[in-house]
Symmetry: C2
Subunit: 388 residues, 2 copies
């Protein structure tokens, strides 16, 4: 991966600091991987280890301070961050708390407000008992929710972020193109999933954090299951949904395939999804709300004679597989240029069976631009020798 670009990360930090000023925050404490990477450029798969907390303090003015385990100091020193304070974690008696409290005291006057993401779709990635202790150490300073500030900046992607997401889409696209070569009646879903991940890697993915899907007669009942050893059967609809990563950015899209043969109900459901995606692509633009984008797709399913499923029809995408906003009724987020979203309509395909389609887009000055190579207009049929 390229070395983190200092100018890019300075711009992001400055944007976050502008949000902080309008919200009277003296500093923001970041603990989660995407928030820390967004500001610093620090990219490591070591976050898979839950043992150690990591902290970045973004002051209202000036450069961020990284308060991190020693094991990460060499890698953090390769980013634009110069104030790196490390400790030999894990140290359960004081796992960075003293260092962190000192950094926050420098940035925040007594009585000042410290922001931390504490709202929807966020997690404070440190032991809860340590956070309670930190609050006591820093009183009378108070912690307040900084989700709106972080979200406002992270939701709009820069050109380099969009390019990475598009590269991830291409990697998964190569794997989807290879599916007819390894998925056919009789193939175990577990083997299909394994071959699909190999296809993503061969297609250029750095890694494949997410893969789920389902297969069943005329549709599936679940879109988040891991693979079993069950073989694909003629008449099944197979759905594969993946989040492959390039340079730390995700794609998130799926593809549907009929196994051996496609019945009329599955074809109709597929066409309703295709029409819904058409409607989503036409509607998506800066200025409308996420709820309006959902309505455009749900209405199209109805016009195609389908029955939309509940739940959301897409979401933000970037350093995480799923990000704000939610394309669903009630989400009044106003879409902005530079947002990367998934369009993910779902329909009832048969009793107890659903089908879901998904594409990734970026909002430009001229509306939606597809980052995925779009699914074919008709449900493809896997025959074992390729596509029918």
């Amino acid at each position: 991966m390229p070395l983190p670009d200092a100018a890019e990360h300075r711009r992001r930090t400055a944007a976050l600091q502008r949000e902080m000023q309008t919200r009277d925050l003296s500093a923001i404490l970041l603990t989660a991987e995407p928030d820390i990477r967004h500001v610093t450029g620090f990219l490591s798969r070591f976050w898979e280890s839950p043992t150690r907390p990591w902290f970045v303090v973004v002051p209202a003015a000036g450069d961020p301070v990284a308060v991190i385990p020693s094991i990460g100091a060499a890698l953090m020193a390769k980013t634009w961050i110069t104030d790196i304070r490390d400790w030999p974690a894990p140290a359960p008696a004081d796992d960075g708390l003293s260092l962190l409290a000192e950094a926050l005291r420098e940035a925040v006057p007594a009585g000042g407000r410290i922001g931390a993401p504490m709202g929807p779709e966020t997690v404070l990635r440190m032991p809860q008992a340590d956070f309670a202790r930190l609050r006591e150490m820093l009183a009378p300073r108070v912690f307040v929710d900084a989700t709106p500030a972080v979200r406002a900046v992270r939701e709009v992607k820069s050109p380099v972020e969009i390019a990475s997401i598009e590269a991830a889409c291409a990697a998964a696209g190569a794997a989807f193109a290879a599916v007819p070569g390894f998925a056919a009646p009789g193939a175990a879903l577990r083997d299909v999933f394994r071959d699909f991940q190999i296809g993503c890697l061969k297609g250029g993915a750095d890694w494949v954090p997410y893969l789920a899907g389902g297969a069943g007669p005329g549709g599936y009942d679940d879109v988040i299951s891991p693979a079993t050893a069950a073989p694909l059967a003629a008449g099944d609809v197979l759905m594969i949904d993946t989040g492959a990563v390039v340079d730390g950015y995700f794609c998130d899209f799926d593809r549907n395939f009929a196994v051996g043969r496609a019945d009329d109900a599955a074809r109709r459901a597929y066409h309703a999804l295709y029409a819904a995606t058409d409607a989503g692509l036409a509607a998506a633009r800066a200025g409308i709300t996420a709820a309006e984008l959902h309505a455009a797709m749900a209405d199209a399913i109805g016009r195609a004679g389908g029955a939309p499923i509940g739940g959301r029809f897409g979401h933000g995408l970037g350093m995480q597989l799923t990000e704000w906003p939610s394309v669903q009724p009630g989400d009044e987020t106003v879409l902005r240029e530079g947002m990367v979203l998934t369009l993910e309509p779902g329909v009832h395909a048969a009793p107890g069976r659903i089908m879901v389609a998904e594409e990734d887009i970026v909002l430009t000055a001229h509306g939606a631009r597809l980052l995925t190579r779009r699914a074919p207009p008709d449900l493809p049929v896997l025959t074992g020798g390729g596509l029918a």
Copy 2:
């Protein structure tokens, strides 16, 4: 993957309930993936999406209650859990809180104690603002740290868990065996990492959540970096460290290779690590402490004329890449039969350069049993045509 075994998960739940009784807990609230899977058997890669919180309430007596997003209800219904209460998440205004509060009120009398993991190596996986609101909703009930209860049960692995970890070790072992076929002077580290992950999948891994490593002349300066496009050069020492997963269980071990040629300092460092691992294998048994296991390895490095690095020399392993305890000075955890641990000694190999070795073991009644096929006694040299 096999369907979750009801008897296995009932045993785990009963063990947790025994810990709760000695700690006067009326219920435990679980929010993190491994904790929830440990009790229910619920396995999904969908946890990669941070959008939705998931909750399981384990009462002091009786069966657990799952309070989860509707998207997971079908999959949870395939486990032994029968009391499943779902809501159409994401619902930012009330993202499961009312349902969760009701389940906790049923299990916990007013004034009772609710445990939640809040200590070292834990994260409360729900928005912090929601947790604050939940505490208010449930007052005068109080939340207390349940890390010791959860840890006591999760640290000791069952035979089926050990078998899964061993299968993950075999999958990564197959990939390590293939390294001489694709890693040689001139190969880009990024391509080596990609081929290595393909090797894990071909070797039987379900997925490859973790891969890190480093390469540099005579050693590396960092063990958590992602791969760059930099080519391997003759004289480099390449280290690859992976966490591959089978049936939801990790391996975590590394291998070192000399690229083109090995210098004497690298060979000496490798031998010191090998001697340290020998000492760790001989010392590891139920009844000693994690700190004593560290000392056995550090002393062996000293006897071999090496200089041990700081930090820990191993850790627990299971549903997470890293778990309690830490094999380091000060960790007085008494080791128990059934614990799965990594032995991970590190030495200074050259100025600014380190080398680290890692193997996975389980503690039996007769001491340590290797779950990995042990690294070779001499530093292997990659020549492009295989091993020298």
